[in-house]
Symmetry: C2
Subunit: 129 residues, 2 copies
Amino acid sequence: MTTRRDAVHDTLRGSSGFRSAQDVYAEMRLHGAKIGLTTVYRALQALADGGKVDVLRTDEGESVYRACATDAHHHHLVCRKCGRTVEVAGPAVERWAEMVGSEHGFTEITHTVEVFGTCSSCSTPSRTV
Amino acid sequence: MTTRRDAVHDTLRGSSGFRSAQDVYAEMRLHGAKIGLTTVYRALQALADGGKVDVLRTDEGESVYRACATDAHHHHLVCRKCGRTVEVAGPAVERWAEMVGSEHGFTEITHTVEVFGTCSSCSTPSRTV
DNA sequence: CGCCAAAATGAAAACGGTTGTCAAAGTCTC
DNA sequence: GAGACTTTGACAACCGTTTTCATTTTGGCG
Protein backbone atom coordinates (compact mmCIF):
# COMPACT_ATOMS: atom_id res chain seq x y z
CA MET A 1 0.00 0.00 0.00
CA THR A 2 2.94 2.26 0.05
CA THR A 3 3.90 1.61 -3.51
CA ARG A 4 2.52 4.86 -4.82
CA ARG A 5 3.82 6.75 -1.88
CA ASP A 6 7.25 5.35 -2.58
CA ALA A 7 6.94 6.34 -6.19
CA VAL A 8 6.26 9.89 -5.10
CA HIS A 9 9.21 9.78 -2.77
CA ASP A 10 11.43 8.47 -5.54
CA THR A 11 10.37 11.19 -7.91
CA LEU A 12 11.17 13.74 -5.29
CA ARG A 13 14.57 12.23 -4.66
CA GLY A 14 15.28 12.37 -8.36
CA SER A 15 14.93 16.14 -8.27
CA SER A 16 17.48 18.58 -7.05
CA GLY A 17 15.34 21.31 -5.59
CA PHE A 18 11.91 21.93 -4.26
CA ARG A 19 9.02 20.69 -6.31
CA SER A 20 5.39 21.54 -6.05
CA ALA A 21 2.80 18.82 -5.71
CA GLN A 22 1.45 19.58 -9.14
CA ASP A 23 4.94 19.50 -10.50
CA VAL A 24 5.62 16.09 -9.06
CA TYR A 25 2.30 14.89 -10.35
CA ALA A 26 3.03 16.16 -13.85
CA GLU A 27 6.41 14.52 -13.93
CA MET A 28 5.08 11.21 -12.73
CA ARG A 29 2.44 11.23 -15.40
CA LEU A 30 5.04 12.05 -18.00
CA HIS A 31 7.01 9.05 -16.93
CA GLY A 32 3.96 6.94 -17.41
CA ALA A 33 2.95 6.54 -13.80
CA LYS A 34 -0.71 5.86 -13.24
CA ILE A 35 -1.45 8.07 -10.31
CA GLY A 36 -3.95 10.72 -9.43
CA LEU A 37 -3.36 14.22 -8.19
CA THR A 38 -5.18 13.41 -4.99
CA THR A 39 -2.86 10.57 -4.25
CA VAL A 40 0.20 12.69 -4.86
CA TYR A 41 -1.07 15.22 -2.36
CA ARG A 42 -1.79 12.53 0.16
CA ALA A 43 1.57 10.89 -0.34
CA LEU A 44 3.36 14.18 0.01
CA GLN A 45 1.52 14.93 3.21
CA ALA A 46 2.28 11.54 4.62
CA LEU A 47 5.91 11.93 3.70
CA ALA A 48 6.04 15.33 5.30
CA ASP A 49 4.34 14.03 8.42
CA GLY A 50 6.91 11.32 8.69
CA GLY A 51 9.70 13.81 8.33
CA LYS A 52 10.81 12.24 5.09
CA VAL A 53 10.54 15.43 3.13
CA ASP A 54 10.76 19.12 3.76
CA VAL A 55 7.84 21.37 3.15
CA LEU A 56 8.11 25.00 2.34
CA ARG A 57 5.65 27.64 1.34
CA THR A 58 6.59 29.80 -1.57
CA ASP A 59 5.75 33.45 -1.56
CA GLU A 60 2.83 32.59 -3.77
CA GLY A 61 1.42 30.32 -1.14
CA GLU A 62 2.18 27.13 -2.95
CA SER A 63 3.54 24.22 -0.99
CA VAL A 64 6.79 22.82 -2.27
CA TYR A 65 8.40 19.61 -1.18
CA ARG A 66 11.88 18.29 -1.18
CA ALA A 67 13.44 15.02 -0.17
CA CYS A 68 15.88 15.90 2.59
CA ALA A 69 19.42 14.73 2.30
CA THR A 70 19.55 14.50 6.03
CA ASP A 71 17.11 13.78 8.79
CA ALA A 72 18.60 16.40 11.03
CA HIS A 73 17.02 19.75 11.45
CA HIS A 74 18.37 22.20 8.93
CA HIS A 75 17.49 25.21 6.90
CA HIS A 76 17.64 26.17 3.28
CA LEU A 77 19.48 28.65 1.21
CA VAL A 78 17.56 29.08 -1.99
CA CYS A 79 18.59 30.91 -5.11
CA ARG A 80 15.74 33.17 -6.02
CA LYS A 81 16.55 32.89 -9.68
CA CYS A 82 17.40 29.34 -10.49
CA GLY A 83 15.95 27.70 -7.43
CA ARG A 84 19.18 25.97 -6.52
CA THR A 85 19.01 24.91 -2.92
CA VAL A 86 21.69 24.39 -0.36
CA GLU A 87 20.99 22.80 2.96
CA VAL A 88 22.59 24.66 5.78
CA ALA A 89 22.86 23.94 9.44
CA GLY A 90 22.58 26.85 11.78
CA PRO A 91 23.24 25.99 15.37
CA ALA A 92 23.50 29.67 16.12
CA VAL A 93 20.03 30.26 14.84
CA GLU A 94 18.57 27.38 16.78
CA ARG A 95 20.04 28.78 19.94
CA TRP A 96 18.94 32.27 19.10
CA ALA A 97 15.36 31.17 18.51
CA GLU A 98 15.30 29.27 21.76
CA MET A 99 16.71 32.19 23.60
CA VAL A 100 14.43 34.78 22.13
CA GLY A 101 11.45 32.58 22.81
CA SER A 102 12.21 31.79 26.41
CA GLU A 103 13.15 35.38 27.04
CA HIS A 104 9.54 36.22 26.36
CA GLY A 105 8.16 33.30 28.27
CA PHE A 106 7.40 31.18 25.24
CA THR A 107 7.74 27.45 25.28
CA GLU A 108 7.65 24.68 22.70
CA ILE A 109 9.54 26.89 20.38
CA THR A 110 9.76 26.11 16.72
CA HIS A 111 11.02 28.32 13.99
CA THR A 112 11.06 28.84 10.30
CA VAL A 113 14.15 30.16 8.67
CA GLU A 114 14.63 30.55 4.97
CA VAL A 115 17.46 32.37 3.36
CA PHE A 116 17.07 33.62 -0.16
CA GLY A 117 19.76 35.02 -2.35
CA THR A 118 21.17 35.04 -5.83
CA CYS A 119 23.68 32.30 -6.40
CA SER A 120 26.99 32.89 -8.10
CA SER A 121 25.85 31.44 -11.42
CA CYS A 122 22.90 33.76 -11.51
CA SER A 123 24.63 36.88 -10.34
CA THR A 124 26.67 37.45 -13.48
CA PRO A 125 26.89 41.19 -14.07
CA SER A 126 24.22 41.26 -16.76
CA ARG A 127 21.63 43.94 -16.84
CA THR A 128 19.21 42.04 -14.70
CA VAL A 129 17.49 43.36 -11.66
CA MET B 1 -7.38 59.19 -2.68
CA THR B 2 -5.87 57.29 0.08
CA THR B 3 -8.76 57.60 2.45
CA ARG B 4 -9.78 53.99 2.27
CA ARG B 5 -6.24 52.87 2.36
CA ASP B 6 -5.76 54.89 5.51
CA ALA B 7 -8.83 53.31 6.98
CA VAL B 8 -7.33 49.91 6.38
CA HIS B 9 -4.10 51.01 7.92
CA ASP B 10 -5.92 52.35 10.94
CA THR B 11 -7.83 49.16 11.43
CA LEU B 12 -4.59 47.27 11.31
CA ARG B 13 -2.99 49.56 13.82
CA GLY B 14 -5.91 49.03 16.12
CA SER B 15 -5.13 45.34 16.30
CA SER B 16 -2.47 43.73 18.33
CA GLY B 17 -1.42 40.85 16.17
CA PHE B 18 -1.51 39.68 12.64
CA ARG B 19 -4.79 39.90 10.81
CA SER B 20 -5.83 38.30 7.60
CA ALA B 21 -7.23 40.40 4.82
CA GLN B 22 -10.64 38.84 5.27
CA ASP B 23 -10.41 39.52 8.93
CA VAL B 24 -9.67 43.18 8.43
CA TYR B 25 -12.44 43.40 5.92
CA ALA B 26 -14.94 41.84 8.31
CA GLU B 27 -13.99 44.16 11.10
CA MET B 28 -14.26 47.22 8.92
CA ARG B 29 -17.70 46.21 7.79
CA LEU B 30 -18.72 45.62 11.36
CA HIS B 31 -17.69 49.13 12.21
CA GLY B 32 -19.86 50.37 9.41
CA ALA B 33 -17.18 51.07 6.87
CA LYS B 34 -18.32 50.98 3.28
CA ILE B 35 -15.53 49.14 1.66
CA GLY B 36 -15.15 46.13 -0.57
CA LEU B 37 -13.01 43.09 -0.11
CA THR B 38 -11.11 43.94 -3.26
CA THR B 39 -10.15 47.32 -1.92
CA VAL B 40 -8.94 45.86 1.33
CA TYR B 41 -6.70 43.49 -0.58
CA ARG B 42 -5.39 46.28 -2.72
CA ALA B 43 -4.82 48.57 0.23
CA LEU B 44 -3.02 45.85 2.12
CA GLN B 45 -0.78 45.18 -0.84
CA ALA B 46 -0.01 48.84 -1.28
CA LEU B 47 0.76 49.15 2.40
CA ALA B 48 3.01 46.15 2.26
CA ASP B 49 4.75 47.47 -0.82
CA GLY B 50 5.42 50.71 0.95
CA GLY B 51 6.82 48.88 3.92
CA LYS B 52 4.06 50.16 6.14
CA VAL B 53 2.96 46.74 7.22
CA ASP B 54 4.47 43.33 7.64
CA VAL B 55 3.26 40.42 5.63
CA LEU B 56 3.49 36.86 6.74
CA ARG B 57 2.22 33.60 5.38
CA THR B 58 0.52 31.30 7.79
CA ASP B 59 1.03 27.59 7.52
CA GLU B 60 -2.32 27.43 5.80
CA GLY B 61 -1.07 29.69 3.07
CA GLU B 62 -3.09 32.67 4.12
CA SER B 63 -1.48 36.08 4.08
CA VAL B 64 -1.63 37.97 7.32
CA TYR B 65 -0.76 41.59 7.80
CA ARG B 66 0.36 43.66 10.70
CA ALA B 67 1.16 47.30 11.19
CA CYS B 68 4.79 47.40 12.22
CA ALA B 69 5.69 49.23 15.35
CA THR B 70 9.02 50.04 13.84
CA ASP B 71 10.37 50.56 10.39
CA ALA B 72 13.52 48.69 11.16
CA HIS B 73 14.02 45.16 10.07
CA HIS B 74 12.81 42.75 12.68
CA HIS B 75 11.31 39.36 13.16
CA HIS B 76 8.33 37.97 14.96
CA LEU B 77 7.71 35.67 17.82
CA VAL B 78 4.18 34.43 17.50
CA CYS B 79 2.17 32.45 20.01
CA ARG B 80 0.71 29.55 18.14
CA LYS B 81 -2.32 29.50 20.37
CA CYS B 82 -3.45 33.03 21.00
CA GLY B 83 -1.60 34.71 18.19
CA ARG B 84 0.12 37.15 20.46
CA THR B 85 3.06 38.63 18.66
CA VAL B 86 6.30 40.05 19.90
CA GLU B 87 8.66 41.88 17.64
CA VAL B 88 12.20 40.79 18.11
CA ALA B 89 15.42 42.03 16.71
CA GLY B 90 18.03 39.47 15.86
CA PRO B 91 21.32 40.94 14.84
CA ALA B 92 22.87 37.54 15.27
CA VAL B 93 20.49 36.05 12.77
CA GLU B 94 21.05 38.79 10.26
CA ARG B 95 24.74 38.19 10.42
CA TRP B 96 24.29 34.46 10.26
CA ALA B 97 22.15 34.70 7.16
CA GLU B 98 24.64 36.96 5.46
CA MET B 99 27.46 34.68 6.36
CA VAL B 100 25.79 31.49 5.28
CA GLY B 101 24.77 33.10 2.03
CA SER B 102 28.13 34.51 1.07
CA GLU B 103 29.81 31.31 2.14
CA HIS B 104 27.96 29.64 -0.70
CA GLY B 105 28.51 32.45 -3.13
CA PHE B 106 25.04 33.93 -2.81
CA THR B 107 24.44 37.62 -3.03
CA GLU B 108 21.53 39.94 -2.38
CA ILE B 109 20.63 37.88 0.60
CA THR B 110 17.30 38.19 2.24
CA HIS B 111 15.80 35.95 4.81
CA THR B 112 12.61 34.97 6.47
CA VAL B 113 12.63 34.11 10.10
CA GLU B 114 9.59 33.36 12.16
CA VAL B 115 9.63 31.94 15.61
CA PHE B 116 6.57 30.17 16.92
CA GLY B 117 5.94 29.07 20.45
CA THR B 118 3.39 28.89 23.18
CA CYS B 119 3.29 31.97 25.30
CA SER B 120 3.18 31.87 29.07
CA SER B 121 -0.54 32.61 29.26
CA CYS B 122 -1.32 29.75 26.96
CA SER B 123 1.06 27.21 28.40
CA THR B 124 -0.86 26.46 31.56
CA PRO B 125 -0.62 22.66 31.67
CA SER B 126 -4.29 21.80 32.12
CA ARG B 127 -6.80 24.28 30.83
CA THR B 128 -5.83 24.05 27.21
CA VAL B 129 -8.06 24.33 24.17
C1' DC C 1 -18.75 75.90 -12.51
C1' DG C 2 -18.85 72.22 -15.70
C1' DC C 3 -16.43 68.68 -18.25
C1' DC C 4 -13.12 65.30 -19.43
C1' DA C 5 -9.60 62.03 -18.16
C1' DA C 6 -7.28 59.31 -14.90
C1' DA C 7 -7.48 56.76 -10.75
C1' DA C 8 -10.07 54.21 -7.39
C1' DT C 9 -13.71 51.35 -6.10
C1' DG C 10 -16.45 47.14 -5.54
C1' DA C 11 -19.51 43.20 -6.97
C1' DA C 12 -19.07 39.26 -9.02
C1' DA C 13 -16.65 35.98 -11.72
C1' DA C 14 -12.39 33.70 -12.54
C1' DC C 15 -8.45 31.37 -10.84
C1' DG C 16 -5.27 28.07 -8.77
C1' DG C 17 -3.87 25.21 -5.37
C1' DT C 18 -5.58 22.12 -2.06
C1' DT C 19 -8.91 19.16 0.21
C1' DG C 20 -13.11 16.38 0.52
C1' DT C 21 -16.36 12.93 -1.39
C1' DC C 22 -17.46 8.56 -2.64
C1' DA C 23 -17.61 4.68 -5.46
C1' DA C 24 -14.47 1.39 -7.53
C1' DA C 25 -10.30 -1.30 -7.27
C1' DG C 26 -6.81 -3.48 -4.74
C1' DT C 27 -4.94 -6.08 -0.72
C1' DC C 28 -4.93 -9.24 3.08
C1' DT C 29 -6.56 -12.79 5.90
C1' DC C 30 -8.93 -16.64 6.54
C1' DG D 1 -12.73 -17.56 -3.22
C1' DA D 2 -15.31 -14.56 0.15
C1' DG D 3 -15.43 -10.83 3.13
C1' DA D 4 -13.51 -6.79 5.43
C1' DC D 5 -10.57 -3.07 5.26
C1' DT D 6 -7.51 0.18 2.87
C1' DT D 7 -6.05 2.86 -0.95
C1' DT D 8 -6.95 5.01 -5.05
C1' DG D 9 -8.49 8.61 -8.18
C1' DA D 10 -11.97 11.36 -10.95
C1' DC D 11 -14.39 15.08 -9.87
C1' DA D 12 -16.49 18.57 -7.27
C1' DA D 13 -16.19 21.63 -3.49
C1' DC D 14 -13.47 25.04 -1.01
C1' DC D 15 -11.10 29.10 0.12
C1' DG D 16 -8.24 32.81 -0.26
C1' DT D 17 -6.77 35.78 -3.74
C1' DT D 18 -6.78 38.18 -8.20
C1' DT D 19 -8.91 39.88 -12.28
C1' DT D 20 -12.52 41.99 -14.80
C1' DC D 21 -15.17 45.64 -15.88
C1' DA D 22 -18.62 48.97 -15.26
C1' DT D 23 -19.41 52.71 -12.13
C1' DT D 24 -18.03 56.38 -9.05
C1' DT D 25 -14.92 59.66 -7.36
C1' DT D 26 -11.22 62.92 -7.72
C1' DG D 27 -8.46 66.47 -9.91
C1' DG D 28 -7.20 69.52 -13.30
C1' DC D 29 -8.41 72.92 -16.68
C1' DG D 30 -10.86 75.95 -19.61
